[in-house]
């Protein structure tokens, strides 16, 4: 139990250290903002003093009990009596102070915003870049929605923590210290009365705040349920209609909705109690100051002007103190958010040994006794060994889950092959020793379900080469048999992927991904079932274009269509993670294995088809 707590504390410390690093470039801005706000507070303190002097010494003509410099300053302007006759001078003084205050206020806001925006930008940028560099296995383990939430709402909470809560708490403390200073100088007894209720307000806000916090959580949770219910009804609208459950759905929704409404109505009572109690406390404080102020004033212990100043300070303090309690409650939530962000930032990113190599890759690729299992899963590859000659084409045939894509992910270092599970070498160099980015930029991989970015089609095709011309993009698209479809869109290559009204079909997406790979011209090309959604004729056309373009590239083709694999120099057949057949397509056709069986089925059909044509 104890060690656990200690761990948590250490973790917390780590987390705040991370936050500190996130504040690179914004720390000084936050500090400036706080300093500026201290100036504003100071101005807020001076105004009542001037009014107090104006009333006591200038208007009422009382003997000034002021420091010598203040008296000599007044004398320079003609003395207190003269100022009393010419109050505009003091009014101008007020305006001048106000002008400074406004400037201070402006910069407080600007510095604070600059600081918090810098902080948010730093957090987002670092998170994004870190996420892009996290190993693929990390991505597979974590849910997209959860990561996004960490990058958006948790970032916002941390921002609020630093730029609103933390700085405001400091500001309010400064304000309290300032006003205490000025008030003490005027009258100690009245000061004590004025601040008597501050602890009460704070204590009340803290205890009640926790209760409200819980209430809000319940409300949020229920709102989530209401929201999920709408979502489910909308996505399941066909099921609802087909089972004629409109009534049931409506009643269920209305029940949940009512529950949510009731929660808030109850919460309303709590909130109303909270606010009105706070009102009572702060007005009581005003009343106390008034009563005792009047008594002291009548007793001659305090001047009228000082009393006005007291009343003024009291008013200045009451709102910030009311907010202070709520803020302290809110602040306790930030811990969680920082921890959630730290989870991402502390996950180790892909990193290469500084001595990593950049050998030529147009060499022989050897898979040597590969065994591999994904985390917490049974082994998916068992002792797989084969060689790809430089410049040759390897075909891989395998059923669902046979491990064929895994082999390629290993080659592209999407997953690290543990030591002792065999080796993959290129030209004799273990890929573990090759710089990851270098390796990947020399491998062009097209996936079965390609991912396109929400940018224009031309941006998507040319994404890996910033200097690419539209001509080159079109050429790549032509080779991938995509040009015709794209020029058919109203906006052509400027069509936005995912734009309303234009949906790329599965085949078009695959072809776009192929065109994207073509602009990269890497010495190793991998096509992982990347023509599955394209019809046979287009498939053949694209393959021709590819072989004329990449005659020299080492190519891996994964497909279940034997026509696609027919031109490969060598084909390996994977079954349940084992290499069961290997040879040229011609050899395998008659080897009596899986390849032959599939060949007979597919050839039979094609043969029939050919008969008809």
């Amino acid at each position: 139990m104890d060690t656990k707590n200690k761990d948590k504390k250490i973790n917390n410390k780590e987390n705040y250290r991370l936050l500190w690093r996130f504040m690179d470039g914004s720390k000084h801005l936050f500090l400036l903002s706080i300093l500026m706000s201290a100036l504003v507070s100071l101005a807020d303190m001076i105004t009542p003093q001037i009014i107090s002097i104006a009333v006591d010494n200038c208007i009422m003509g009382l003997e000034p009990k002021l420091p010598a410099w203040a008296i000599s300053l007044a004398d320079r302007f003609g003395g207190f009596a003269y100022l009393g006759e010419h109050l505009w001078i003091l009014a101008v003084a007020l305006i001048i102070i106000a002008a400074f205050r406004s400037i201070g206020q402006y910069f407080t806001g600007v510095f604070n915003n600059r600081a918090s925006e810098t902080l948010v930008k730093t957090m987002r940028d670092r998170l994004f870049r870190h996420i892009e560099r996290l190993p693929f296995s990390w991505h597979m383990k974590n849910h997209t929605g959860d990561i996004i939430q960490r990058c958006t709402s948790d970032v916002d909470k941390v921002r609020a923590f630093v730029s609103e809560q933390l700085t405001n708490v400091i500001r309010i403390v400064v304000l309290i210290v300032f006003s205490l200073f000025f008030m003490f100088r005027m009258h100690v007894g009245l000061t004590l009365i004025a601040v008597a209720l501050i602890p009460v307000t704070l204590a009340f806000a803290l205890t009640f705040g926790k209760k409200m916090h819980k209430g809000f959580e319940v409300c949020d949770e229920t709102e989530g349920q209401v929201s999920a219910m709408v979502q489910e009804n909308l996505t399941g609208v066909r099921v609802v209609r087909a089972f004629a459950k409109e009534r049931y759905e409506r009643d269920r929704f209305e029940k949940k909705n009512e529950e949510y409404t009731k929660l808030w109505v109850d919460m309303g009572k709590t909130l109303a109690t909270y606010f009105s109690t706070q009102d009572i406390i702060s007005l009581s404080q005003v009343l106390l100051v008034l009563i005792f102020g009047c008594i002291f004033c009548v007793q001659g212990k305090i001047t009228a002007g000082n009393l006005l100043a007291f009343i003024s300070y009291n008013g200045t303090l009451s709102w910030p103190i009311r907010r202070l309690g709520r803020m302290l409650v809110e602040m306790s939530k930030a811990d969680v958010s920082i921890g959630r962000i730290a989870y991402i930032m502390n996950s180790p990113a892909e990193a290469d040994d500084p001595k990593a190599l950049e050998p030529p890759v147009d060499r022989e690729i050897v898979f040597d006794h590969i065994n591999f299992a994904y985390e917490n899963c049974p082994e998916i590859l068992h002792d797989v060994s084969f060689t790809i000659e430089p410049g040759s084409t390897l075909g891989i045939l395998g059923g669902t889950g046979s491990g064929k894509s895994t082999l390629m992910l290993l080659l592209d270092k999407m997953y690290d092959l543990p030591q002792g599970s065999g080796t993959i070498t290129i030209g004799g160099v273990d890929i573990r020793d090759i710089r990851t980015e270098y390796l990947r930029s020399n491998i062009s991989m097209v996936l079965q379900e390609p991912f396109l970015f929400s940018r224009s089609i031309s941006d998507n095709i040319g994404i890996s080469d910033s200097g690419i011309t539209l001509e080159e993009i079109r050429e790549a698209a032509k080779a991938a048999c995509l040009d015709e479809s794209v020029t058919g869109f109203p906006k052509g290559y400027d069509t936005f992927v995912g734009e309303r009204g234009v949906t790329l079909s599965g085949g078009q997406k695959q072809r776009a991904a192929i065109a994207r790979a073509l602009t990269k011209a890497a010495p190793i090309m991998i096509f992982d079932d990347s023509l599955s959604a394209v019809d046979t004729e287009t498939d053949a056309k694209i393959r021709d274009a590819l072989s004329s373009r990449f005659g020299k590239a080492t190519t891996v083709l994964i497909s279940h269509r034997l026509t696609t694999l027919a031109k490969a120099d060598k084909v390996i057949v994977l079954d349940n993670g084992r290499l069961v057949e290997m040879g040229t397509p011609a050899e395998l056709k008659t080897a009596g294995g899986i390849y032959q069986k599939i060949y007979e089925i597919q050839a039979g059909i094609s043969g029939k088809e050919a008969d008809n044509e």
């Binding site: 009014a91 305006i95 915003n113 609208v237 004629a244 007005l283 009228a304 006005l308 592209d412 279940h560």
Partner: protein
């Protein structure tokens, strides 16, 4: 520069409403007129007691400090405490009523929207994304509720505060009040001028923010592609461009807001300075009156700035009202006529006693059909008899329009010409619910609701017994699925059934359909890859559940297609061939091509299955 997506959405939501759209909310305002009255009433009391504190303070200072006696201190304390009491009670009531009214309005709007959505036709769902509709139901309603209660209350409060302070000041010293008031119009004009700009900036900031979220989404879901293309740097740089943009806009926003606050502060001080300059002399006689003027002057400008903001919120609320109204006023494409509703009830209150039992004969009679957002007929003079018990298969490529017939038979859409007869009766002469009650629908991507497995199974037939459930599970061979679950039938399936695998969901949804025992069954076969054993289970489940019903299968499996009584072949939205399997094969047309390709795929995967 702006994202084409958002631009289009803006166009779509443009919906001009007079008076901030508030007249559109008349029924709601009428329903809650009592509460609204109380909100206003408590606000008035609240404001009055707030203003009174300054008057009381004036009294105390004038009376005690001014005269140097403490006579009447007790009465003063009593009065002040009374005022605190009134202030607190009215504040309490206001907060409570406001919140209760707000959430009640939200509830009513959401209920209305939800009910209406149950009646809207599928063209609405086809034209609007789930996210879009969801936002209308959840966030627009809550914004409207907030506008109509809190914003209304705030506006009144600050307006009364301004008018009240001016009134009180005027009562005590008209000349001084006049001098202070010079500032108000100047400052109001300033606010009004810049508020629009601030608004615009705010909107832009929100838009960029959602773009950044989108970028995160892309960066995460596309991580594999980013890595294999080695474009981490480019993607990162592009992201930073967006966050820089965000920074720029936010700073613009912050500077403008800073100017706003600075000007408010300056105006406040100007008012205070005027009081000192022109009213300082009052302090000699009545220090309380002087302090009261100080108090009001100090608290006059902030309400003005907040008032402008509240008015701006009303303008913003117009957009929400517009969107909500558009949803509520959307007319269902398919509607039962008045006589039908009279006799058979609507979708919430069916009059089942008048329902004729359904046999399950379906007939298309000279049907023309065009989708509401389409440009040409996809069916022309189409006639087809589907007697009870027929097993009809619809085949074609993805996106070829295979669901059209299903949509028509289920009356999710209605023919543009001609009739669809159910048991020989035009389906428009019966209620939609009558037809839907006899309908089973099993989807390609099975949709379960959150709740337990049992709740999901009972969805179509709440009265099914335990034996029925067990029987249905057995029929679809889902026993092993249930056994595997920790709490068996009472296991929670998670939102959308996501705690189960696709294959498991598929089997449960079959069992659900069997329990409902529909006369007409629509089945959209899954193409999703499931493991071989599940695949076989699904296959045998399909064979079992289509027996003894009229079934329409959007078919992908050879056995389903081969054994169908009738096959419709769809291409490019139109029916190009129809007949039995052998006839169609013999014709060696489009069907033949589809069939062979399908055969190839399936035979190939069969080889792998055998190897396992």
């Amino acid at each position: 520069m702006s994202d084409p997506k958002t631009r289009e959405k803006d166009e779509k939501d443009k919906y001009d409403l007079p008076f901030f759209g508030i007249p559109k909310m008349k029924p709601l305002l009428k329903k809650y007129r009592k509460e609204l009255f109380w909100i206003l009433f408590t606000i008035i009391i609240f404001t009055a007691s707030d203003l009174a504190t300054a008057v009381l303070q004036r009294y105390a200072l004038n009376r005690f400090v001014g005269t140097g006696t403490l006579d009447g201190l007790g009465i003063f304390i009593f009065l002040y405490l009374l005022d605190i009491g009134i202030f607190a009670v009215s504040g309490y009531c206001n907060t409570k009523i406001c919140l209760a009214t707000e959430v009640s309005m939200d509830r009513d709007m959401r209920n209305a929207a939800f009910s209406h959505l149950q009646e809207l036709s599928f063209d609405y769902y086809n034209q609007n994304s789930v996210g879009y509709i969801h936002a209308r139901v959840m966030s627009d309603t809550s914004r409207i509720g907030e506008t109509l209660t809190w914003n209304l209350g705030d506006t009144c409060f600050f307006l009364l505060e301004i008018i009240g302070s001016i009134g009180v000041m005027f009562y005590y010293n008209a000349r001084l009040t006049g001098m202070i008031l010079i500032i108000v119009p100047v400052i109001s004009a300033f606010y009004a001028l810049f508020q629009g700009k601030l608004f615009d900036l705010n909107k832009q900031v929100r838009e960029i923010n959602s773009k950044i979220t989108g970028n995160f989404n892309e960066g995460i879901t596309g991580a594999k592609t980013v890595k294999s293309l080695v474009i981490e740097e480019k993607i990162g740089a592009d992201f930073e461009k967006e966050t820089s943009n965000m920074f720029k806009k936010s700073m613009e926003n912050a500077r403008l807001k800073g100017v706003f606050n600075a000007v408010t502060g300056l105006a406040t001080s100007a008012a205070v300075a005027i009081v000192l300059w022109q009213g300082g002399i009052i302090a000699r006689e009545e220090v309380g009156t002087f302090s009261m003027f100080m108090y009001y002057a100090k608290n006059l400008m902030e309400p003005v700035s907040i008032l402008v903001e509240s008015l701006a919120l009303f303008i913003m609320g117009k957009v929400n009202i517009g969107r909500y109204t558009k949803l509520i006023e959307a007319v269902p494409n398919v509607k039962d006529c008045a006589e039908v509703i009279e006799k058979y009830g609507n979708c919430f209150d069916p009059k089942k006693e008048n329902w004729e039992p359904i046999r399950g004969d379906i007939e298309f009679e000279n049907v023309d059909f065009m989708y509401p957002d389409g440009e040409e007929n996809v069916l022309e003079n189409f006639s087809l008899k589907i007697p009870f018990g027929t097993n009809l298969a619809i085949v074609g490529e993805t996106g070829a329009g295979k669901s059209t017939l299903v949509n028509l038979i289920c009356r999710f859409f209605e023919p543009t010409r001609g009739r669809i007869l159910i048991d020989g009766i035009d389906s428009r002469q019966r209620s939609q619910l009558w037809l839907h009650s006899a309908l089973g629908y099993v989807l390609q991507s099975p949709h379960l609701f959150s709740g337990t497995v049992r709740e999901n199974l009972l969805y179509g037939n709440p009265n099914a017994s335990e034996e029925d459930i067990a029987e249905a599970i057995k029929t679809v061979s889902a026993e092993s699925v249930i056994e595997k679950l920790e709490k068996g039938l009472d296991t929670d399936v998670g939102e959308g059934g996501d705690l189960l695998s696709t294959g498991e969901k598929q089997l449960i949804s079959f069992a659900r359909a069997i329990l409902a025992d529909p006369k007409i069954l629509v089945l959209d076969e899954a193409t999703a890859s499931v493991d071989t054993i599940t695949e076989q289970k699904i296959q045998s489940a399909i064979d079992k559940i289509i027996k003894g019903r009229t079934s329409l299968v959007i078919a992908h499996r050879l056995s389903t297609i081969k054994n169908a009584d009738l096959i419709l072949v769809v291409s490019d939205g139109k029916i190009v061939e129809q007949g039995k399997h052998d006839e169609l094969l013999a014709r060696k047309g489009y069907y033949y091509k589809l069939w062979t390709r399908q055969y190839e795929d399936e035979a190939t995967s069969a080889v792998w299955a055998k190897e396992e």
